[in-house]
């Protein structure tokens, strides 16, 4: 069934606009229960996304959109919550919020983490409050880690 290209078409869609559309050889996704990597020919799948980084390994394409993929040939977006639909040749990511790592405000993320920790402490017996606090914390931590990872020299 292999197409001559063996490439995935990856789209990242946010409520505001289509952020990214490109051919890729593989995508790493932060599904709610752990990271997964999708290659060409993956079985159809629908999954919830957690907070984390989407990493698209770009396929060399004729049109020169180097700014999209960077010099390393991969493009990284920090997403929080959403869905992904995987088809053998197409991956569509619906993210509630997506940022480039450079756009992340680390200070704000840290404040968010503190707020989450405070919520966690005050949650008491309520399961709902715990889940919510956990959401806030994991979102903040994903943001911080993706921001620092990019800032680190390779």
């Amino acid at each position: 069934m292999a197409d001559e290209s063996n490439q995935l078409r990856v789209r990242l869609v946010t409520p505001e606009r289509i952020l990214f559309e490109h051919a890729a050889t593989a995508v790493e996704l932060p599904a709610e229960n752990g990271y997964m990597e999708v290659l060409f020919g993956h079985a159809p799948l629908v999954a919830l996304l957690g907070a984390g980084d989407v990493i698209v390994h770009c396929a060399p394409e004729t049109d020169s959109d180097a700014d999209k993929c960077g010099p390393t040939g991969e493009s990284r977006y920090n997403v929080s919550w959403g869905f992904v639909e995987v088809l053998p040749g197409r991956v569509t990511i619906l993210a509630s919020d997506a940022l480039k790592p450079e756009e992340i405000d680390v200070q704000r993320a840290q404040q968010q983490r503190e707020r989450g920790e405070k919520m966690w402490k005050e949650a008491g017996e309520s399961e709902e409050a715990y889940t919510e606090a956990l959401h806030v914390i994991s979102e903040a931590e994903a943001k911080i880690s993706s921001a620092t990872e990019v800032a680190k020299p390779h």
């Binding site: 409520p15 629908v46 919830l48 869905f83 569509t92 619906l94």
Partner: protein, 357 residues
Amino acid sequence: MANVLDLRRRIRSVKNTRQITKAMKMVSAAKLRRAQERALAARPYARMIVSVLESLRRRVDLYDEKTGNLCNALFLTRPEKRVLLIVISGDKGFAGAFNANILKTAYQFINGNPDREIDIEAVGRKGRDQLRRRYPTAAYTDQTDENGQTHKVRSPRKGPVEVTGDHPGLLVKLETSRVLELAHNVISRYTHEEIDAAYIVYNEFKSVIAQRLVVERLLPLIDLENPQITGAVEPSAEEKERQAEAALSAGIDIEAADTAEAEEEAKKFGTAEVDYIYEQPAEELFAGLLPQYIFSVLFHAMTESVAAEHAARMTAMDSATNNASDMIDDLTLHMNRVRQAAITKEIIEIVSGAAAL
């Protein structure tokens, strides 16, 4: 009778007004263009959410096989005794009958359901101000439960209709996080049975000539593919013509941009005729998807309403500019007549003076 000097002054002042209205029209046109782009860019996401929900609903039983529970409370319908009405109006005036029309539709809805208790969430400053004057604001008191936690408890109603909240400045920047917050708020009220249904009143805006005022049902979810429009007011042909005229003079496309292809593409999301692996159980998927769906409906309503507001302002300002031009013409004619009359009178005086010699 006014003398020439007075008339000249009036002409000057009308000219100034015309300049202002013209500038406002151009500003609105630019804002409209941007708002239209935003509304367009937001469409794929909304479309995809609907598609994936629809396909999920078709494939997955809404009731759990083992426990027989409904997998999400938002599908539950109850007799509509308490209704939430979200009124999306504009933040500013000078937009013709835009805000008045929205409020009129909201009042119609309220008066048409006298036996229901209605909560109002006002989005947009103009609507909020008016609704607050007309209806009492819901009051909350803090109560401490046995665990020492404080809860907000709503005080007894002052009347069948109450304003429960407003969202100042929401429309200015339209941040997704705030709209999402509102969506969560609506959902939590519904699942806690504070409300039995939710409706939104807003101005739908497909393009300059295709817009209408609608009352759309947000909750409960009955049919996802087709919006549940319970009332719609179309603008008259004359209004449409005015809108189109104003748009043309400001250089705005009358027809909506062609997005059929993108829409088709988006419709396919999550609906391919294959057996999907669902990573999470349906219950969790619904729990994650439905807030996004409610959010996207609200966001869509707001982006369209913002576009409609700018279009309405543009049209109103175009009319004002035209009226000012007409007025200047009239005044100029009048001024010339007065001046001519004064000259004629002087000549008569000179001639009759000469004849008397």
